[in-house]
Symmetry: C2
Subunit: 412 residues, 2 copies
């Protein structure tokens, strides 16, 4: 059995690391995301009934109904949701990655990333701006709607034009160069966003004559929001993970996601089941004015980055992370990730280690070593007013235990 | 005396670290460099008689006479130089920094950097392209002239226009952001060049309508030659060093330069004398096909970067340097530089250390500790065919000994 499992894991890891994610378009979710309708709202985490969704994740879904003009009041919106006339579905089965609450509506533009190796696609909604007041973190108001409209009417069509004229933008070369420039590509994307801007520059020049204002606003936005690339990065990660999912006998993790309620993982050889458990333990730092009491678990699936061996698995590439702990701790934490992974990324290297990034979390290595994956993340304020803190989240062991039990049951 | 020296050094260090270098223009050397004439050629290193200059430095000067059309054959050019009809002068007294052989002619465009704190200016000739065949490294031929012409006719006027329209481009914010992105700003400038391009982008958009081809070629050049920023960086360093020079009683080093013949330093409180000694010891790596025997000391003054606490003094910020040694060695070498410097840069930080960069080399600290400054550098092939190797150069102790003796003689 172990030989078969090793063989399956080798294939899963290969599909993961050999994915060639290319940003091929920006389109409205309803035009490109499979199964997306005007009355569908997607949200982060494993499937939950509407009644189980609480806090800012619930809040953001209500705002989504208003944004989509399916209702004009909060009460009306809630009634539609209660009645199931607006359906809330998890992002993942739609090929989407939810950032924070992860709320998508039909009209929202999404990045479309194609894995040229596997032929599959993944999607991510676009960044609206910088914190504090983001729709995706539960904020609502005219300012929030204005930013969403800018994305809808300026940023999305301009980038769509640029991407189409480019014939697609390969994301791996950008990621490969960004890591030695201090990005772990989850909570730091400064270099990747600059590199993306630099990549599209020639095409921006082609269209600036016809679209002066749009091109200028797009550049301004990319310069002002260095997290921009993350939305492309998570779609690239999801495309790679989906290509590595469904390998019979593989014990490799192909997803780690959160809802307001819980944390969950999925395993390549264990079908579409999500193994749930408690939220991770936050070991980062709170910003001034925020404390443990202010945290509202927003949900969030940007931990797809750690699932492909970035973020917390690449933090020794990102000593310039703000609010980080001591470097020795970052290095040690990062080194431990080699003990729970199946291999080293042949293309993405950590300069400090002079080694490929640890990639491909094996549920059995987690169980045997007791070492839990570390996620770099921000935690969100429960009042929808932005970010409470930033730093490592140490995942719970329960989902890995549940997955290992299911694996043993299935494969003996 | 020590109290007075300390006070003088504090002032010198302050002038150095509080310099505010702004790129204000690109102009022909003869239009902006003080004392530059059509029959002047500048070159790297302390003053040497024409007859003392050998190797590729001599070669590049002969090429310069040809480039400037003062002669049509090598023999003619040499005759002019021998007769003193074309005068060879050192760059430094003209406020210039020579990269490699450091050859400037009257018509060549230079970056003009103004130190807004001190009111002084410094200059650097522009990068022609990537190795191997660069004029500045002693190469000659139609291909070399073609690249120089591109700089002269496309790159320089386009950047001049951009810089003037911008009202000057402050360089410190670019440098401050580039260091946590893996640049030590001497042998790695990838992030700084990207950030510079990003900074000038809005103005490039303003002028692209009138200058389609020039703008596109400029962007292409900046994207293809990630060393571009270095030429602005060394001018910024020189402007800061000149502002820190001439402080009565200061034992701080305000220049480290090379000619084909020797290495030399200058000290803030010791006037315009250069204290000379043997070339540094190369401890880096040779590229495939090159060895010790292929090295021709080209001269070079990009070690102004180490003099302001960058390059070898910032290598723990640049673990992604190609052909670097083990990280532990980089860290240890970098830490040692704190033992020979007067302070830590309040604005430029090394993420790994979480400390300001070591800055302000004190000749007495060098003598007392026996620790010699480490320069990151490339070494050049004697045949003019490019770069032989890259890595640390450990400077000789003699110039520091000579300076200390002169200091004691002068100040007791």
């Amino acid at each position: 059995m172990t030989a078969q499992r090793d063989e399956a894991n080798r294939l899963a890891l290969k599909n993961l690391t050999q994915a060639e994610p290319v940003l091929v378009d920006v389109q409205r979710a309803s035009d490109v995301v499979p199964g997306m309708t005007r009355h569908t709202i997607l949200t982060s985490g494993p499937a939950l009934a509407w009644s189980e969704i609480t806090g800012i994740q619930r809040q953001a879904i209500v705002h989504a109904v208003l944004y989509e003009k399916l209702a004009t009041t909060t009460a009306e919106a809630e009634a539609l949701l209660d009645a199931g006339d607006v359906r809330v579905e998890p992002t993942q089965p739609h090929g989407c990655v939810g950032v924070s609450t992860g709320v998508y509506t039909a009209s929202m533009p999404v990045y479309v990333v194609e894995n040229r190796t596997g032929g599959n696609r993944a999607f991510c909604h676009m960044l609206e701006g910088n914190p504090p007041r983001l729709f995706v973190n539960g904020a609502w108001g005219d300012d929030v709607v204005e930013r969403l409209r800018f994305v809808d009417q300026v940023l999305a069509p301009t980038l769509a034009e640029v991407i189409r004229r480019s014939g697609g933008i390969p994301l791996k070369p950008i990621m490969r160069r960004a890591i030695p420039m201090g990005d772990e590509l989850h909570t730091r994307n400064d270099a990747a966003t600059l590199l993306f801007t630099s990549t599209i520059l020639p095409v921006l020049l082609d269209i600036v004559g016809e679209r002066q204002d749009e091109v200028r606003s797009t550049i301004q936005f990319l310069q002002a929001t260095p997290f921009s690339f993350m939305r492309m990065g998570v779609a690239a990660a999801k495309a790679a993970l989906d290509a590595a999912h469904g390998i019979e006998g593989s014990s490799m993790v192909t997803g780690m996601i959160h809802s307001t309620k819980e944390f969950a993982i999925r395993v390549s050889g264990l079908g579409d089941r999500w193994f749930c458990g408690p939220h991770p333990e936050f070991q980062g730092k709170f910003f001034w004015g925020s404390s443990k009491e202010d945290v509202g678990w927003a949900g969030g699936e940007s931990s797809v980055m750690e699932t492909v061996g970035l973020g917390g698995f690449a933090q020794a590439a990102a000593f310039a992370l703000p609010f980080r702990g001591p470097v020795d701790q970052m290095i040690e934490r990062n080194l431990r990730m080699y003990d729970i992974t199946l291999g080293e990324n042949p293309e993405f290297k950590i300069p400090y280690f002079d080694r490929g990034l640890p990639v491909g979390i094996d549920i059995f290595k987690v169980i045997e070593t007791g070492i839990r994956p570390v996620l770099n993340a921000v935690v969100i304020r429960r009042d929808g007013e932005g970010v409470a803190g930033v730093g490592p989240l140490v995942t719970a062991i329960e989902p890995f235990q549940a997955a290992a039990a299911a694996y043993t049951e299935r494969y003996g």
